[in-house]
């Protein structure tokens, strides 16, 4: 199966005065797994629906390979879509759901059946082909939706928060399986989610969206460690935005005059663990909480700003003895101190 690259070129969509997509441009490589990540209302689903053909952009272009699909009818795009609520057809059984796209393509009956059964086996649903949709569990429905979206060998796959209705354990299993399916098929995939962990775990690249714009597009590690905007920094996890001048270098050199981002889990309480070029940050302990795998400390800096410090339980020898109101110094290695370009704390 030949997968295709996608080009999104200056796409804009407004509903009245509300701008859902504000000049979005994005290149997705053939065979790539790209996640659109953002809070609700960020435009990620609108962008997905524009690619699917259910939202017509006000301006801009969408290309599938070299082909302009901006105004192509959804049924002619050959894009497999997995919907958030699965959108299975309740009046058909599992097999009929999966055969449906093949029937529409006038595939000979025997071949359609065989391909549907093969695809069901691929998503580990063998033996359930005659079941009614109503008799399936959430996870099984998810698999049927996947099978239906890939059975006709589309060259692009779109997924709109496909795992949001599943419980945590099942969600983790399915994250792994969807990624495995993607790697097997090599199909260009755009995945929408508001779950940061899911985005980091599954994607080749993540595009973080907010208010109709792409804030940053990069590998999961870069997005997490080197956020380019304050929004990305804060959206991706427990990020501390530190104003210029509130940290000092351990070796006494002049600390950065810029706004810094330090993740809560980058801190240590032991200066020896961070090296001479690390930074130190001193404050009063406001609160502490034991969270199983780690301790979460809230430090109030002298300026009043609060900083979250997360110490892994294995390294947190002294945490249990700390008392609120006590002065605490937290250290972070230089590699984990990230300057946010152009940000003002």
């Amino acid at each position: 199966m030949k997968s295709l690259p996608i080009t999104i070129d200056s796409v804009r969509k407004a509903y009245g005065s509300y701008v859902a997509l504000d000049d979005v441009s994005l290149d997705i490589q053939a065979g790539e797994f790209l996640t659109l990540l953002g809070p609700s209302g960020s435009g990620k689903t609108t962008l997905l629906m524009a690619l699917a053909g259910f939202v017509r952009p006000d301006s801009g272009k969408l290309l599938l390979g070299d082909r302009d699909i901006t105004r192509l009818a959804p049924n002619k795009r050959d894009i497999g879509i997995v919907f958030q609520n699965y959108a299975l057809f309740p009046h058909m059984n599992v097999l009929a759901n999966v055969e449906y796209p093949l029937v529409l393509r006038k595939t000979p009956k025997a071949e359609a059946r065989q391909r549907a059964l093969d695809t069901l086996a691929r998503v580990k649903l063998d033996g359930l082909s005659e079941r009614n949709i109503a008799a399936l569990s959430g996870g099984q429905r998810q698999r049927v939706a996947l099978a239906r979206a890939i059975v006709f060998e589309p060259r692009v796959m779109l997924m709109d928060e496909p795992l949001s209705a599943l419980d945590k354990n099942l969600r983790e299993t399915m994250q792994y399986e969807i990624r495995r399916l993607h790697d097997d098929l090599g199909i260009t995939t755009i995945y929408v989610t508001h779950d940061q962990r899911e985005a980091l775990i599954m994607s080749d690249r993540v595009a973080v969206m907010n208010s109709g714009r792409i804030q940053q597009i990069d590998t999961p590690q870069q997005i997490y460690d080197r956020p380019s905007t304050r929004f990305v920094a804060e959206f991706m996890g427990e990020a501390n935005i530190v104003a210029p001048g509130s940290v000092r270098r351990i070796d006494g050199a002049d600390a950065s005059r810029e706004t810094l981002m330090i993740r809560a889990e980058s801190f240590h309480l032991d200066a020896k663990l961070v090296g001479r070029d690390g930074v130190a940050l001193e404050g009063t302990l406001r609160a502490k909480a034991f969270r199983g795998e780690n301790w979460l400390l809230t430090l109030a800096l002298d300026g009043g700003r609060e900083v979250l410090v997360c110490i892994p339980a294995a390294l947190a020898g002294g945490c249990a003895e700390l008392a609120t109101g006590q002065r605490v110094t937290a250290y972070a290695p230089a590699a984990k101190v990230h300057t946010i370009p152009g940000a003002v704390a």
């Binding site: 699917a52 009818a73 050959d78 497999g80 959108a87 299975l88 057809f89 529409l104 239906r148 006709f152």
Partner: protein
């Protein structure tokens, strides 16, 4: 409702009696024509002094009545087959457009069921006259479809509001054009509502007399029109016989639809 008074015997008796009275009040006017239709007398009298089937013979033996019956059944069937698909498409649009525009369209579609029938009939008469369609079956059909669309819409709109539109998008993404998405995904799942809408549209046409009186001419008069004319010209129990048959037909149709809904 009855479960609210499980212990109070008097309350239950009163409630049941009240319900029975209400039922009687609703049903008796319909049921009273049944004995009338089996009367042997030339006059509509209750209770009949002797019984016979002569009025049924009269009805089935009369070319005029039979023509009326045929016209009515054909008209009812055509009305339902035209009005229900139109109403379905209209309701899909209303459902998809949403907001004030949808409300305005919905309001416009429902007006025929709000405007007094006589006004609609007069208006239709002039429109049809301009097209030289007065007196044709087609003219009456247009009138009946106009009346039946709002009736079908009232049944279909709430059903569509409950329908998961993502399924249509899924079908479209899988390669279905509009017609196939509607025919293969919406219609099978709205079967019951469509059946109800068809029955309601059919009955709307069957029951309609004002437009028929204004627009239909001699050879394609509907049964209700003939009944009104006969009431004016000569009152005999044939009317009662037709009414009885009518009630049975409607009852059977409603029963069939209701039973299919249950199964």
């Amino acid at each position: 409702m009855l479960e609210a008074y499980p212990d109070n015997r008097l309350a239950r008796i009163l409630l049941w009696s009240f319900c029975a009275l209400a039922m009687a009040f609703l049903m008796l006017p319909t049921l009273v024509v049944v004995p009338l239709s089996f009367s042997a007398s030339d006059l509509l009298e209750f209770p009949p002094r002797a019984y016979s089937l002569r009025w049924y013979e009269n009805f089935f033996g009369s070319a005029t009545w039979m023509a009326g019956l045929r016209t009515s059944l054909i008209l009812g069937t055509l009305t339902a087959t035209l009005a229900v698909p139109l109403a379905l498409l209209a309701c899909i649009s209303i459902n998809r457009i949403g907001g004030r525009t949808a409300l305005a369209i919905q309001g416009a579609l429902l007006t025929p069921s709000i405007v007094p029938g006589i006004l609609l009939a007069i208006g239709l008469f002039f429109v049809l006259a301009a097209q030289r369609l007065v007196g044709t079956l087609f003219g009456v059909l247009v009138g009946h479809v106009v009346l039946a669309i709002p009736v079908a819409c009232i049944v279909l709109l709430p059903a569509l509001a409950r329908f998961d539109w993502n399924q249509v998008q899924a079908a479209r993404s899988l390669g279905a054009n509009w017609a196939r998405a509607i025919g293969g995904i919406i219609v099978p799942q709205l079967q019951i509502s469509l059946l109800s809408a068809t029955l309601m549209a059919f009955l709307t046409s069957l029951d309609e007399s004002v437009i028929s009186i204004f627009v239909a001419s001699g050879q394609n008069s509907t049964l209700p029109k003939l009944m009104f004319l006969s009431l004016r010209d000569q009152i005999d129990p044939t009317i009662a016989a037709i009414s009885t048959l009518w009630t049975v037909i409607v009852l059977v149709a409603v029963l069939i639809v209701t039973l299919r809904k249950k199964s």
